[in-house]
Amino acid sequence: AQSVTQLDSHVSVSEGTPVLLRCNYSSSYSPSLFWYVQHPNKGLQLLLKYTSAATLVKGINGFEAEFKKSETSFHLTKPSAHMSDAAEYFCVVSDLYGGATNKLIFGTGTLLAVQP
């Protein structure tokens, strides 16, 4: 069965320092993986996605994530945090072969705080 685990519920960084949000997944097949960001009182916005092409995926706003099959991880990183990055981040996995109906499995989210 598919699952996704976000290892930290809260992460706090200082502005200008690197961001690391950790995500591990479990999937029976070759997964598609996504990171979404949710700002307060807003919907979810796609940051980036992995669909079996390059393992290092670049997204919007300077974020990137690396798919590591051996570690079943898809950690989100950014070299330098900005105040506007403060938000909740969701790691999401889907079944590439559609065997589990058309649905995404969401992690429980990581709340990123950026201190001035």
Binding site: K42, G43, L46, T101, K103, L104
Partner: protein, 115 residues
Amino acid sequence: DAGITQSPRYKITETGRQVTLMCHQTWSHSYMFWYRQDLGHGLRLIYYSAAADITDKGEVPDGYVVSRSKTENFPLTLESATRSQTSVYFCASSAQGISSGNTIYFGEGSWLTVV
């Protein structure tokens, strides 16, 4: 403006009342979804629709009804609201199925409180 719009954005209702959350998208996407977001659970799929007049249950469908008479609309109805249905509801759409790794686009959410 193009995109997904949800209405109402905020709603307070009483236990036992019927509530309908509306969702409208302007992209002519085939797939539409309803999720609920609760603390500690992330987002969970309630219902989805692959095309007009085709709907199917997700993970947590009990107490909800959907319809899709037109491609652009996907209303979600709580037939008899309960306090456990207090949540934030997100409508979403996608041009193709999730299993193809296609991007899913979310509305801004509807905050529902059942008292």
